[in-house]
Amino acid sequence: MLLEKLTTACGLPGFEDEVREIIEAEIKDHVDSTKVDRMGNLIAYKKGKKKSPHIALSAHMDEVGLCIIGIERDGTLKFASWGVDARILPSMHVLVGKDKIPGVVGNKPIHLQREAERRSVYELEAMYIDIGCETKEEAEKLVSKGDFVAFVSEFTEFGENLIKAKALDDRVGCTAIIELLKEELPYSITAIFCVQEEAGLRGSAMLAKRLEADIVINIEGTICADMDGIDEDKQVTNLGAGPCLSLLDRSSVYQKKYLQAIVKVAEDEGIPFQYRRSGMGGTDSGSYHTGGAGIPCIGIAVPCRYIHSPVSVMHKSDMENLIKLVKAFILNGAERVAGK
C-alpha cells in the first residue's frame, strides 16, 4: 500500500530525500516532466488537453521529529524538537540520521524517581537519546550533530477502516496527489511536493513566487480532537465524517468564492465533507496566496487524531472521499470558478 510505504519512510524538514525518491518513482510514468528545485521541492507537470485553468496540487513531504544538537561524553545524544509535544517523547523508539541508527529516548526508572519527579513532566532539556554507545567517540562514528531523528511506528490497520501510522501529516496529502496524477484529467496539473512545511512553510515560500497556476488545492492532514472530554465546539474535525475544508487558519483566510465552488460540487455529487472548525494552525496555502501576485487556494485535509505523534490515526474513507472530491472539483467546478 502506497500510504504505508510513504509513512514508513523518513523525511524530517530538510531531509526529505527518501520520501521524494519514492514519490518520483511512483509518478514518473504518469506525468510529462518532473524537476527538483534547489531547496528540494519536487514539482511535476502533467499537460492537459484544455489550456485553462491550470491547477496546482500541493502537499508537503516533511514530517515532525527531532534533530541532534549535541553528543555527550557518555555517548548519549541531546536534541531539539520540530513541532513535537515534549511530553510524548520519553520511551520513544527513534531512528537517527541517514543510516537510521536505532535509539530510544531514555528516562529514569520509576523505582528511582522521587515523589515530586513522578508527578512532574520531563523537560525537553533533561531528555536524551540512547543509541547504545558508551563514549562520545563511539557515538560520533555513527551519528553527527544536525542529524534528523524520526519516530518509529509500524503502519497498522485496526478498528473499522482505521489506520495508525507516523507522518500521516502530510504523507496522506502526498498519497492523494499521486492517486490524482494517475487519473486522466482534462486540465494541466502542476503537482507540488514541498519540503520544510513543518519548519514554517519554507519550501512553498520560495516556490510560490514563481508558481504559475490559476488555483492551488493544498492537501493536508489536519487536527482532529473528537474525543470524550473535549467540548464539541473545540473538536475541530471528526474522524470518518469526510474531508475537511478550511475556512481560515493562521496563514490564510480562504476565499469564499472558491470554498463555495467546492462545497457545491460536494453537495451535487453527494460526497461527504466537513468544515475545519478552527482558526489555528497553518498550511502552505499561506505561501501560495501571498506569493507573487497571489494565487487563490482551497485547503482540504484528512482529519488525523493524535497528529504530530507516532500514533496518528485516520479513517480510510476520509482519504478516499478527499480524492473523490478533489477529482470531482477539477472536473466539474474548477473551470467555472478559476478558468480564464
Binding site: E232, D233, V253, T290
Partner: protein, 329 residues
C-alpha cells in the same frame, strides 16, 4: 469632506477576506476619477491614475477585524474563530451584524472566576430556538462585525471599522481634491491587512512601485494611564517613524515633513510599538521600496467604538494632496 461617504464606508461589512462590498462601494466612488480600476486575485482594488514621473503606490486597507462562525451547538448558540486582533474584553456584550442583517450578541459561558474569561469562552447568541433554527439563519464560515452605528458627535467621529475605512476615505478625498500630480499614482485599497498585510504583499508585487505610502490608524496616547507615545488626537496628520512592520524611509519622512511645513498643515510624528500596516509589506517587495505612512491618531482601536478627531481627518487629507502634488527631491 464628505462625512456621509465616511459613514457609509464604516457601516459596510468587510472582514478580512470578505472585502467585496467595500470594494464595490469605493469603485463606484472613484472609477470616473481614475484611468483603470480593477480587483486582483486576493480582492485588492487597484486604481491607476496615470501621471508623470515615478510610480507611487498608495495603500489603505478595506478589511476590518471580525468573527467567523466555527460551530453551531445543539441549543443554537454559535462559537467563532477570531479574524484579526480581537480581545475578549472588547467583544464581550457587543452586538454583531452578519451581511444578511442578522444580529448576534456576544456573551460568555458561566465562569467560576471572572479572571477565567478568554476568547474561547465566548459565544454568539442570535436568539435561535435550537440548532435547526440557527442553521436556517447562519452557516459555519459566515462572518460578522461590530454592529455599532457610525456617528459624528462634537468634534469626533465614532465608529467600528475606522481601522481602516478612514485610510480608504483619506485616499478617496485626496484623489477628488488633486489638482496636479507629481507621480504615476496607484490607489490600492487592500485586502487582508488585519491578518498579516497579505493583500498589500501581492498588490505591491504586481504594481512594482518606486515609492509606497500607506494610510492607517495609530494610537492616540492621551487616554488615562496609557504608555507615553508621540501621537495624540487633535495633533494633526501623524507622520509615521516606525512600527513593528517597518522603519519608514527617510526620503518619505522628509517629503511629508516638508510638504506639511510648506503648506502649514498641522502634523505630528508617530511611533507604534506593536502593530504594523501595509507599508510593512510594500517596502520589502521585490528589490525594496522606500515607504512611509500617514496615520490618524485614534482612541479605542479594535473596539466597537473607534474614535478620531474631524480636524485630524482634514489635516491628513490636505497633507496627502500636497504629498502627491509635490515631487520628491
Amino acid at each position: 469632506m464628505n462625512l456621509e461617504l465616511l459613514k457609509k464606508l464604516c457601516a459596510a461589512n468587510g472582514v478580512s477576506g470578505h472585502e467585496e462590498s467595500i470594494a464595490a462601494l469605493i469603485k463606484d466612488e472613484i472609477k470616473d476619477l481614475t484611468d483603470d480600476c480593477k480587483t486582483d486575485a486576493l480582492g485588492n482594488l487597484i486604481a491607476h491614475k496615470k501621471g508623470p514621473g515615478k510610480k507611487m503606490m498608495l495603500a489603505g486597507h478595506m478589511d476590518q477585524i471580525g468573527l467567523m462562525v466555527s460551530h453551531i451547538d445543539k441549543d443554537g448558540f454559535l462559537r467563532f474563530a477570531s479574524i484579526g486582533g480581537n480581545s475578549h474584553h472588547y467583544l464581550m456584550a457587543q452586538r454583531f451584524v452578519f451581511p444578511s442583517g442578522l444580529i448576534g450578541v456576544v456573551s460568555c459561558e458561566r465562569l467560576d472566576d471572572p479572571k477565567d474569561m478568554a476568547i474561547d469562552k465566548l459565544y454568539i447568541d442570535i436568539g435561535a430556538k435550537d440548532q435547526e433554527d440557527a442553521m436556517k439563519q447562519v452557516k459555519v464560515g459566515d462572518v460578522c462585525v461590530f454592529a455599532t452605528t457610525p456617528v459624528v458627535s462634537g468634534n469626533v467621529f465614532i465608529t467600528p471599522a475606522l481601522d481602516d475605512r478612514i485610510g480608504c476615505f483619506i485616499m478617496i478625498e485626496a484623489l477628488k481634491r488633486l489638482k496636479k500630480q507629481a507621480f504615476d499614482l496607484y490607489f490600492v485599497f487592500t485586502s487582508q491587512e488585519e491578518v498579516g498585510l497579505r493583500g498589500a504583499t501581492t498588490a505591491a508585487y504586481s504594481v512594482e512601485p518606486d515609492y509606497g505610502l500607506a494610510f492607517d490608524v495609530t494610537i492616540s496616547a492621551d487616554t488615562p494611564k496609557i504608555r507615553p507615545l508621540p501621537s495624540k488626537m487633535y495633533g494633526g496628520a501623524a507622520i509615521k517613524l516606525k512600527d513593528r512592520s517597518l522603519l519608514c524611509h527617510p526620503t518619505i519622512i522628509a517629503h511629508l515633513e516638508s510638504c506639511a511645513k510648506k503648506s502649514k498643515i498641522k502634523h505630528q510624528y508617530e511611533i507604534l510599538e506593536m502593530g504594523g500596516t501595509d507599508s510593512g509589506a510594500i517596502h520589502i517587495s521585490r528589490g525594496g521600496v522606500p515607504s512611509g505612512v500617514i496615520s490618524i491618531a485614534s482612541r479605542h482601536i479594535h473596539t466597537a467604538n473607534e474614535m478620531c478627531a474631524l480636524s485630524d481627518i482634514e489635516d491628513c487629507i490636505e497633507l496627502t494632496v500636497k504629498a502627491l502634488e509635490t515631487k520628491i527631491d
